[in-house]
Amino acid sequence: MSEILISILLVIGSFFMLVAGLGMLRMPDLFLRMSCSTKAATIGVGTVLFALALYFENLGVATRALATICFIFLTAPVGAHRIGRIAYLVGVSLWEGTIKDELKGVYAEDACVPFGTECRIPDINAPEVSPESEKGDGL
């Protein structure tokens, strides 16, 4: 009986993770993809960890499994929020079917640098050119 319950929980969890992978491949936009990987993958890992807590009938193992569930449930939204904010600032384009963009106009114009246009990384080995020496060469 317990084996059947654990099997059902494992199948449900892996199915949610498969849904997360499908959404990661099929969604049209970075932010929709991020919602997939945050919600579906988190609930999948939570279900699998709950099945593990049921399998080992041990208080220490169950406590560690619940602590891991709490950690994943707390940290997944934090990471997704940070990545989403940085992606919006960097100028990742929204899906053309997006209805409402609430962050439009909140940041200044020059805060949104388009991705890949101004990524000139300074060359460390290049000799430094100061304005003084340029003036001297001109004279």
Partner: protein, 91 residues
């Protein structure tokens, strides 16, 4: 017995398929944040695979590995976003 069969024939193939889909997005991803999201999905799926392996091999120690893996993946995502923010400020 049912548990071993279910894990070997249903759970592991589903999780492996998730890994493959994440790797496809990691290769395709048009921008850098897409790749970071795909990497996050791959790492959290690997944590799930470690947990299922703990059930199959009856080793409770692997749960510690999974929790440390989750902590490291969260820190790597935070570090990636930090360096993208730094890189945005370059002239």
């Amino acid at each position: 017995m049912i548990l071993q069969t279910v894990i070997h024939f249903i759970v592991f193939p589903l999780l492996s398929l998730t890994l493959v889909l994440g790797f496809i997005r990691l290769l395709l991803g048009p921008t850098l944040p897409d790749r970071i999201i795909a990497f996050e999905l791959i790492s959290i799926t690997s944590a799930g695979i470690i947990v299922v392996t703990a059930i199959v091999t009856d080793q409770a120690v692997l749960l510690d590995v999974a929790s440390a893996w989750a902590i490291i993946s969260f820190l790597s995502v935070i570090a990636f976003s930090y360096y993208i923010e730094k890189w945005r400020g370059r002239p």
